[in-house]
Amino acid sequence: RGSGRGREGRGAAGTMLFLILFVNAVGRYSFRQAELRALLEMEGVTDAPMVWTRDGDTEGKDSAFMEIELPSEDVARRVAQRSVCIKGIYHPWGRGKTQEECFEGVKAFGAANMEPYCREGSTFKINMYSYGGKIDTAASKVVIERAFDAVPFKGQVVLDKTKKGVKAQSADKRASHQFWYCEDTMKEAGEQTAVKGSCTGALRGVWFCREVSTGGREVLADFDLKQREYLCSTSMTAENSFLVANFAHASAGKLLLDPFCGSASLLVAAAKFGCYTMGGDIDLRVIRGKEKNKQMPSHCRYARTVDEVDITPFDNFRQYGLKEPLDIVRCDNARPTWRLGSLFDAIICDPPYGVRAGARKTGCNKETKPIPEELREGHIPGTIAYGISDVLSDLLDMSAKYLAVRGRLVFWLPTTPDYKVEDLPQHPCMEMLYNCEEVVTAKWQRRLITMKKTREPQEGERAVCAIKEEDEGIEAAHDNFAVKYFGKQGADRRDDSKESTRSKRKKRAAELAAEGRQGLGWQEGQMENFQEKDGQT
């Protein structure tokens, strides 16, 4: 990894070398490289040579830095600006295993190449970043002296508040040229500890670079759920929503569907990138809206009638000045109601798995009686539990049919550490691209899965699961996830299909009375009333 590169840091094929600093994604390191590759695909770049800086770290488990060759600075900038995993992307002027080697490289880079960024009249700042170590004032001074020795700075220093790859509070106060001195010192077990504050410790890599772009994380503050107008219990965080939008290649001129849209949190991120969006959900209350009644706790605020609706998912789009969805439809994905194949450029979702919301489809466990004509209007269709494996199979079938060819399906799947790839149903028209694991707790994890439609389905082609219902005792790690997550009692409490709400409420009240506690009785009663009165809309 010495200074084998050309003088201008150009590779053999006319590419440029860049250094990327990633966020320290605890428990979800694999998202970083996957998101990068997904964004590079949008640029038409599929084979960029990329190397994590820790020896032998092919998946980016231990590294914060990656060296990558890209066709141009424009590509680097566009990729970084969308990414929520990248803190910054830099063009190294010098690099090496020691500070000495690094600054020798900077000198060799050549004054002519450095000149455009050091001009008189420009502003600049030198930032220090150490991964795993610390660069104190004394060490900084050494670095700055060496930098001034190697680089013909003529501009004016502006000590803005840039640090750790995050922009200064006010963008216009930020110096126009940002330089970064980066050290990779992360210690491994058994390895000699780098002496804190010293530049002579066990360094893995040293770079001096010019910042090309910061990453796209600033937007997350604006889209924080804490300020979101319309929320429900299943709203996805801004960071996760933007991740999904990146994997789905959301961009201007595309039409995206979220068939489990809820409060439309995923669609908001997609709309931020310029997409047209559509949503579907079986739960009318969430998509119809809430009433603004400050007296009542938030979960009771679902509007009971159309007239009471004050705020809807559409208000989230208005809040951010984004294109509103073309439509939101109440529908059951077990019985898809879309008519035309090849309609959507992408399908993105966080299907309900019985954790924060139960998955339901239309149907009835009891024998069905015909509904009398006078009660038909406003009748709420009965629903039954919709098992996760069925949700997934239906989702794949829907995607194979309604996505445009080369369109993407991106979805979250919660599962346990027993997860194996056979758990997932497969469809002959859907190709798996990325399957990123996030370890949430010791008991459960979730995966962000990206698939691409490769061709139109032929007559009768459906999703197939390797694990069949007949295989007794074998189940996918995500089956009965609610039971694994909550324990049997907790899951039963959330599973509406087992018994009616009224008898569950009585049971719950009895349980609590036995414990000597008062339940949220009036609230639960309110919930029940809402469900019954819903039919009057």
């Binding site: 019985r335 109601t337 149907g363 069905t368």
Partner: protein
């Protein structure tokens, strides 16, 4: 959209009727419009536009469509992307079953005795 009933054919379009319609302005995007025109079923769109009385200037068949005609394209943009049924029904042409629309949201769920 199509009726989700088992046995209803995949291609039977839904008719539309409305008691309340609104028009929400959307930025005109020629490329997106052309793409969507390529994906939708023109006959159903033209029929729906006619029912909602916004079909003036919109050809009845796609062959008669002239993508270079800006006035025509903008009328299509208006009917396809800006006109919204707030209250009304979608009607299955095969069975007559009505799917109500309220607050702009169509309710495509079937009752349990229809499954």
């Amino acid at each position: 959209l199509v009726s989700p009933m088992a046995g209803a054919s995949d291609s039977a379009a839904l008719g539309i009727e409305a008691t309340e319609v609104e028009s929400k302005e959307r930025e005109y995007d020629a490329d997106f419009l052309k793409k969507m025109i390529g994906r939708i079923d023109w006959a159903s769109f033209a029929a729906a536009a006619k029912t909602l009385e916004v079909s003036e200037g919109i050809p009845a068949t796609r062959d008669a469509l002239d993508e270079g005609d800006d006035t025509m394209m903008r009328k299509i943009h208006h009917a396809l992307l800006e006109v919204n049924v707030v209250t009304g029904n979608l009607i299955c042409t095969e069975t007559g079953r009505k799917f109500p629309i309220q607050l702009g949201i169509p309710n495509m769920l079937l009752n349990q005795d229809e499954l």
